[in-house]
């Protein structure tokens, strides 16, 4: 891929302290994101998938600098966002916007749509004052709402319409990257499709880049160019959509993909059922984080942390973090269920 890297996340770590004891000492850390690196190219959609609690939303929040990461760098357009001061960051925020999961909580219930949109423009000072209302109407029409709905309050809209307002707010400052944090998970299926198609349309029109955080693989398949799979705060596999869905390498990815329901009852796939639960991110397993549940786990997995690797039989840019990719592919290793 000869595209330009828009965002590069390097060794990002986000540990949240757990306070306890008499004097509120830090007794331990929740390792929500532990050494995550990936990059997003301009104009593409990178999806981050994984179970709840695997750190995908935390990664998104770190990129937006809503939380302050413990370690690592986040390079946006070649500039490290984490080294910026609060004030410098405030100006950079124009380029990175967010769409949230819950359309009922993401809009201020006391503001009309007009106020919500014009305030976004006011904060970043993108449109001259007297043109802001016109621009707000334009934005509403871009996201598929009517101009006459501009003076309504959020509670006068349906969930899907609110999500559109949220999208319009993100677009108001003309961002380059939009983090969609479970942007469609709270909507019902028919509305999901509409909003996804809207996002795709907007991406084409405005050359947007999306970081799409999701747990619904169907949605991910529909919208992404590339997919990163996360497990317990680490990226276990990253690849373009086609390679990941057709040729998954990591045992966790395989298990995850096998959970996609197939519409055809005749054509039953083999369902990989993992043992046990996701371990606690407070005290994650040593070595490969997945070894407690992995059907291929060996002693090596308990000791060494696997790196993301690209092997000969994999497409370019397809990387997986497993010690045993070769043996699993060649059939030397059999799963031990």
């Amino acid at each position: 891929m000869a595209q330009k890297e828009l965002l590069k996340v390097n060794h990002l770590k986000q540990y949240f302290p757990i306070k306890g004891g008499f004097f509120g000492r830090t007794v331990n850390h929740v390792k929500a994101v532990d050494d995550v690196s990936f990059e997003i190219y301009e104009g593409e959609t990178l999806s981050v998938v994984g179970e709840s609690g695997c750190g995908k939303s935390t990664t998104g929040r770190a990129i937006l600098r809503l939380d302050d990461p413990t370690e690592g760098t986040i390079e946006f357009d070649g500039e490290d966002l984490l080294s910026l001061s609060k004030r410098e960051m405030r100006n950079r925020r124009k380029d990175i916007q967010v769409i949230f999961q819950d359309p009922y909580a993401s809009l201020n219930p006391r503001q009309t749509v007009a106020k919500i949109l014009t305030e976004a423009m006011e904060i970043q000072n993108v449109v001259p004052k007297n043109k802001r209302r016109e621009r707000a109407i334009e934005l509403l029409e871009t996201v598929g709402l009517n101009a006459e709905q501009i003076d309504r309050y959020p509670h006068e809209f349906s969930g899907g319409q609110r999500q559109r307002v949220g999208i319009a707010r993100a677009l108001a400052v003309e961002p380059k990257l939009i983090v969609c944090d479970e942007a469609v998970s709270a909507l019902d299926v028919s509305v999901q499709a509409q909003v996804l198609n809207l996002l795709k349309k907007l991406q084409r029109e405005f050359n947007l880049t999306f970081l799409f955080i999701a747990h619904d693989l169907g949605v991910v398949r529909h919208i992404s160019d590339r997919v990163a799979v996360m497990y317990l705060g680490k990226v276990v596999e990253i690849a373009d959509k086609k390679s990941l869905f057709e040729n998954p390498q990591h045992p966790y990815t395989k298990a995850l993909l096998s959970a996609i329901p197939t519409p055809d009852p005749e054509n039953k796939k083999e369902r990989i059922v993992l043992k046990g639960d996701v371990p606690s991110p407070i005290d994650p397993p040593t070595g490969c984080r997945f070894h407690t549940r992995c059907p291929f786990a060996t002693d090596l997995c308990k000791q060494d942390i696997p790196e993301l690797r690209n092997l000969d039989h994999m497409e370019e840019g397809h990387r997986a973090a497993c010690h045993h990719i070769e043996k699993i592919v060649s059939g030397d290793m059999k799963p031990n269920y």
């Binding site: 967010v98 201020n108 904060i123 209302r133 109407i137 029409e141 101009a147």
Partner: protein
């Protein structure tokens, strides 16, 4: 669609639209309040009391302080003196009407003063959290540990007895109650996604606090304020009754009550009418506050 067309369309809409967004929400609120009869009565009573307190003094025949007439002292209610006269022969009705304004004024002033400080302290404490929060809330706990009237007594003994100092004392013990409620609501509000969205847009802390958190925690503040006016009036009257607030010639209701105490057996009406006045004010504010709480409760929203 180009901008001009959009503009035309929006002006058309403005003509068609009957209500502005603000008017709609006000109507919505009134509709909810109307369902609660006692709150509505309380509300009207408060409005009536305020009107009487403002307009009343212009219509009274006598002067509340200077019209002493020892020929008619300690007389019971009559056509001449509706609420009777006190030990200086002053018309109690006139004094009560004039006192209403002073008493209500103390209540509103103390609530507004204490409310503003309490809300600010509470929002800052809740929004910034951490050490700031711990320090502020421990200070509030210290204030809360005193019974309200005792704290006011202590403050007045330092500041000296006067109406102005009563307002200050009462507003100081309003601070922790407001701060607590506001802090709690701020904590609940600041983690909502729209606050994160504003931060992602680059909004300053001041903008988030005043434009996004404050309007959304207004309901509990309004309810607390309307209930606290009653408490403030009761405390202020109590302090005046004890001789620490409004000083004798002043017709503050608590002070009249205090005068009347000496003649309880011979002329009970002197204490009765200001007492009734205080009671009606408190009842009105308490009932109204309760009704407001119900009307503003988000859970009642359909």
């Amino acid at each position: 669609m180009n901008a001009e067309q959009a503009n035309n369309q929006s002006t058309e809409q403005k003509k068609k639209k009957v209500d502005s967004p603000f008017k709609r929400s006000a109507k919505d609120f009134y509709k909810k309040l109307k369902k609660n009869k006692s709150a509505l009565i309380g509300g009207y009573l408060i409005i009536a009391l305020i009107i009487i307190a403002i307009v009343g003094p212009f219509f009274t025949v006598y002067d509340p302080v200077h019209d002493t007439d020892y020929m008619v002292k300690l007389q019971g209610p009559s056509a001449e003196h509706w609420f009777g006269t006190d030990h200086h022969g002053r018309d109690v009705f006139t004094r009560v009407i004039h006192g209403l304004g002073i008493t209500l004024g103390i209540g509103f002033f103390a609530t507004i003063l204490g409310g503003i400080v309490g809300v600010l302290v509470g929002i800052i404490s809740g929004y910034y959290g951490g050490r700031v929060d711990s320090i502020i809330m421990r200070l509030m706990d210290v204030l809360l540990a005193f019974p309200g009237i005792l704290l006011a007594l202590a403050l007045i003994s330092i500041l000296g007895a006067s109406l102005q100092n009563v307002v200050i004392a009462v507003s100081i013990f309003a601070i922790p109650t407001f701060a607590r409620i506001v802090r709690g609501s701020t904590l609940a509000t600041k983690n909502l996604e729209y606050i994160d969205a504003m931060r992602a847009l680059g909004a300053s802390d001041a903008r988030i606090i005043f434009k996004h958190i404050f309007p959304n925690i207004l309901s509990p503040i309004i309810v607390q304020a309307s209930l606290f006016v009653a408490t403030a009036i009761l405390s202020a009257s109590g302090l005046s009754f004890l001789g620490l607030g409004a000083q004798p010639p002043s017709p503050e209701l608590g002070a009249i009550l205090s005068n009347g105490r000496d003649f309880m057996w011979d002329a009970g009406h002197i204490a009765l009418f200001p007492g009734l006045g205080i009671m009606i004010i408190l009842l009105a504010f308490n009932v109204f506050g309760d009704g407001l709480r119900d009307a503003l409760d988000p859970k009642m929203k359909k």
